[in-house]
């Protein structure tokens, strides 16, 4: 399926990504300056620099991947993917960033789930981008962000959830409308442009799915529904 996107939509996403990159780059610059000012580079938190650089690179790479998947359909290879395994990978990659933001990451992957048809690289990039965006914007300290998967009659739902006040479809639709046009399209979730959220959406759209507001147990967040693979069923 050829994805239809306007040039305006692409410009807005680029603007959003550019805005979001200000923070990790500022962190890196200020960390180095801290060491220089004090004349003691031991003061520099090199782990923070590494994590922020990784986040920024992930955002840029995910953004480019999203565009590639949308516009170069030959890249969109769908294959059976184990969502549970993927969430474990994603959690592992988000861990150091979560620590930097005083947030505990939780995995809720209880149960057996058949593989879903998805582009492996794309799905991972989408979940990572979403995770980074929600971690960075998370206003509360010492709280938990949950990566979860559960089954519904419509498919297998996976997403990232937190102790947010209830998120509504109206807020989400408005955020999609405002992204790239307002400084904070999703102010209930993040102080920044929320670029990671919209990059995730772009990637998932290429896979003919998308993010929706969702609820998992007592937490709210954003999630996507994936269809299970008919070819392979893990016993």
């Amino acid at each position: 399926m050829q994805a239809h996107r306007s040039q305006v939509g692409d410009i807005e996403l680029l603007r959003s990504v550019a805005e979001q990159l200000k923070t990790p780059l500022a962190v890196i610059a200020r960390q180095v300056e801290l060491g220089e000012l004090a004349g003691d580079m031991r003061l520099v938190d090199t782990a923070a620099i590494r994590t922020q650089a990784t986040t920024a690179l992930t955002l840029v790479e995910s953004y480019l991947l999203g565009l590639q998947l949308l516009y170069e359909q030959t890249e969109l290879i769908l294959e059976p993917v184990s969502v549970s395994s993927m969430l474990v990978d994603v959690a592992h990659e988000l861990e150091s960033f979560a620590r930097q933001y005083n947030t505990r990451l939780e995995l809720r992957i209880a149960g057996r789930y058949e593989p879903v048809m998805a582009n492996h690289r794309g799905l991972k990039a989408a979940l990572l981008s979403l995770g980074y965006a929600l971690l960075e914007g998370y206003p509360l300290q010492n709280h938990t962000l949950t990566l979860a998967v559960h089954r519904t009659p419509h498919g297998i739902v996976t997403g990232v959830y937190g102790d947010y006040e209830k998120l509504t479809n109206k807020q989400w639709r408005r955020a999609l409308d405002l992204q790239g046009r307002a400084q904070q399209p999703f102010a209930a979730l993040t102080s920044g442009s929320g670029a990671g959220i919209f990059v995730a959406q772009t990637i998932l759209q290429a896979m003919t799915t998308r993010l929706r507001v969702g609820k998992h147990l007592n937490q709210h967040g954003l999630a996507t529904t994936l269809q299970s693979s008919q070819q392979l069923q893990f016993v």
Binding site: E19, K22, T23, P24, L25, A26, V27, R30, Q31, E33, L34, L37, A38, L43, D45, A48, T51, Q52, Q100, Y101, N102, E136, G137, Y138, P139, L140, Q141, Q183, Q184, A187, A188, L189, T190, S191, G192
Partner: protein
């Protein structure tokens, strides 16, 4: 040495600012959101507030209006240190200055720690 209330939603950036300010000998109360910052004011009266305008939930403008509604915090100098691009900030400058007592507006990505600390020290001296 001064009491600084730092309202910065990004924890990683906040950490570096806190370290720099502590190195300079200041006492810091660091908050990520408007509600938290207002709670802190009950027990910690700052000499200077350094804040981002773009916050999760209630934004910096709301915070400032609330801050100025309390007699004991009406005159605390406020330094805005924001990711908001200068062109987007310009329409807000007059009201920030005239009505909300903002003494300086800084563009965060381009503001060095050295410059920030100098401006804080100036404002703390009064």
């Amino acid at each position: 040495m001064a009491n600084i209330l730092l309202l910065e939603p990004d924890n990683a950036l906040a950490n570096v600012y806190v370290k720099a300010l502590e190195q300079a000998g200041h006492n810091i109360a660091c908050c990520v959101a408007a509600e938290e910052a207002l709670s802190v004011l009950d027990d910690f009266m700052p000499h200077v507030v350094v804040m981002e305008l773009q916050l999760t939930g209630h934004n910096g403008i709301e915070f400032l209006h609330e801050l100025r509604s309390y007699p004991d915090s009406q005159n605390i100098p406020v330094i805005v240190n924001t990711n908001l691009a200068p062109a987007a900030l310009r329409p807000l400058l007059e009201v920030l200055d005239r009505d909300l007592g903002v003494r300086a507006c800084l563009y965060k990505p381009r503001t060095t720690l050295q410059r920030l600390m100098r401006i804080i020290a100036e404002q703390a001296r009064g």
